[in-house]
Symmetry: C2
Subunit: 167 residues, 2 copies
């Protein structure tokens, strides 16, 4: 019985601790929260932007992964969240023909809800800067900057990423 | 009761189907099997090789992810498996300053077991080519080609990849 109480206390301590960590990340100026466990999400694609020298991994929550794997991405289903993890590029120290991630720059997310986010193409936007995860944007109008960049891919439900092909 | 039988039959059908798919991928010439569910593994890093114009996502099984996140990667623990998914690069059709994955080239894996694979630095190697997942190598000696390329990073337990930094 003592062991059960100890185990329960330990589980509660872990739970409290993880909730504390999640609460430490402030919401974006539009109220969006950083998704929990996004570091455990599966991969949708990657990219190398040569205009700003960054490498990116694109990940998705379970709904987005299901959509990506079944080709149901135009439009993406309600509830899909896409994440983009961005690093400054650097040259690999042991293979000078390989460009690899260096300093972490930011994590940004798109939250699909055609009704809720109808003024920005059916997607909510949020970004957290650096390892300190500082919310991006002075006020809630920052989303128009995000949306503006995504307008050229309106025909792809405002998403640049095409899921990778895999066996 | 009928519903339960139907559900059980359905579950069995799914199970049989997934086993069939796994069995369809032939083992590598050294006997290594392609890891199950590797497409669901979490991300360790990414790279862009400018010598052969490929983009790569590096993933790991649960043991490898735990090691990557706690910095216990020199050596990587026994049982770690690292996967590398490789695509030919192409220019994004909507953003010509972004290089993105095109045709899938291969999936390759490193299996850590210092005793079992002592002749190749403590790692077993295997690669499957293309969407058809054809095992790479004429015979089991193909691993010396893999091992040879990894010798320059002996000081990093024969692994080029450094796990990305994340918040």
């Amino acid at each position: 019985m003592k062991l059960i109480i100890k185990l329960a206390s330990f589980a509660f301590a872990i739970l409290s601790c993880s909730q504390l960590i999640a609460a430490d990340v402030k919401p974006a100026p539009n109220g969006l929260q950083i998704p929990e466990n996004y570091k455990d999400w599966k991969v949708i694609s990657q990219s190398h932007r040569i205009d700003n020298n960054t490498l990116r991994i694109i990940i998705g929550n379970d709904q987005a992964i299901k959509a990506a794997r079944t080709g149901e991405t135009n439009p993406w289903p309600k509830g899909s969240i896409l994440g983009k993890l961005v690093w400054k590029q650097k040259t690999d120290e042991h293979w000078d023909k390989a460009i690899v991630p260096g300093k972490f720059i930011h994590a940004e997310f798109m939250y699909k809800d055609a009704q809720k986010y109808s003024s920005t193409g059916g997607w909510g936007y949020a970004r957290w800067l650096g390892l300190e995860q500082k919310p991006y944007g002075e006020d809630k109008n920052f989303v128009h900057e995000c949306y503006g960049c995504h307008v050229p891919v309106k025909s792809k439900d405002y998403v640049f990423t095409t899921p990778v092909s895999l066996p």
